[in-house]
Assembly symmetry: C2
Homo-oligomer: 217 residues x 2
């Protein structure tokens, strides 16, 4: 148990404990990755016992969903802060890619969102998460529209599509093959992986798509 706070009674104290757990979860998952993450260890990292975790989160996946929500927020703020008038499409998508990759949690969680995390989550949490997503999309689109020279509707389409492309493109980096690149992978397989460099793949096609949207294809 934490030295200062032994038992959370008020709503603020409960929120503090929740944040304490999330903080620990963030460090822990960053350290060991998604697959090795266990609730027992998270309890240790948080300075509480396993049962306590379930007073603050219904399931393991709800912890991850919360971390995803936070990382989306964090990335959105960072990305929009870096937007500048007069950027080319290329600059825009490169910034998007690089800010997203720079966040250690956003991509790994985004990539697992629908097939893994959203299972085993209460509908309330899911709806709340989707609403936050809508807000983020709209916010980013609002700030992107003047920069890309698009109307709001087009900008919303761009932002949504960028998300789709990002997940698809970045997939390969998430597999174990990527980590084995240095080792004894056969040349043909290594060449395959190289041809799937996610940054190149994303940027190139993102530009094509923005161009298509701008010309109303």
């Amino acid at each position: 148990m934490t030295a200062g706070l032994r038992r959370a009674r008020s709503e603020e104290q409960k929120q503090a404990r929740r944040q304490q757990i999330l903080q620990a979860a963030e460090h822990y998952v960053t350290e060991v990755g998604y697959e090795a993450f266990s609730m027992a260890k998270l309890a240790q990292y948080s300075g509480v016992v396993k049962g306590t975790l379930y007073l603050y989160f219904n399931t393991r996946e709800e912890v991850f969903l919360t971390l995803y929500n936070r990382s989306l927020q964090r990335w959105g703020e960072r990305f929009t802060q870096c937007l500048v008038q007069g950027m080319s499409d290329y600059d825009y998508v490169k910034l998007l890619y690089q800010t997203a990759s720079a966040d250690g949690l956003f991509i790994p969680l985004l990539v697992r969102l629908e097939h893994v995390i959203e299972h085993n989550v209460a509908m309330d949490s899911l709806v709340a998460s989707k609403r936050q997503f809508i807000n983020q999309i709209n916010n980013i689109a609002n700030q992107s529209a003047p920069i890309l020279g698009l109307n709001l509707h087009q900008a919303v389409e761009v932002v949504k599509t960028m998300g789709v492309l990002l997940v698809g493109a970045i997939r390969v980096d998430q597999g174990p093959t990527w980590r084995w690149r240095q080792e004894n992978l056969p040349a043909d397989v290594r060449a395959l992986l190289d041809s799937f460099s996610s940054e190149r793949l994303f940027i190139k096609n993102a530009c094509r798509i923005i161009k298509g949207i701008r010309t109303n294809d």
Copy 2:
């Protein structure tokens, strides 16, 4: 145990047993989905006992990797068979989308390939799988090039990029929110999901990308 074959001695018999397990796994996973799949139940469905499964597959994930390999092959054959001279880009990508969705296993397994399945698989199996993937890509690109009016290099890029886009676009359909659409989802969240209709999303952007590749953007 199977009535006819009690013990597999020859190499052919072992292959037959392996196929028997894979056949059962295919039905089973189609029925209950990826998340609910367990090795104990697979043993029941296969008519063997759990330990026997591990004589034919090193891990649960290796079963899935094999199923993925099969489904890729199956889809590739089906798709290329349906290709016809004179197709528009739109016809091409629509056929691609629809044949891929029609296969009950291909998409669910593809979507989990890197982040879930490829973990916990022996490197041999992984290399073999990647090699089969390379062959499929090249085969499909070969047959697509004349239809799309592209050279081989461009066609390879198209096929690879279609895969990337497909995974990204189809993601949303894999979440549980999709199944709840009929129910008591709030209107705003439902509208969000509708705006992410994977078929529209895929087809539209696939056309944009092919156009970009054709004009060497």
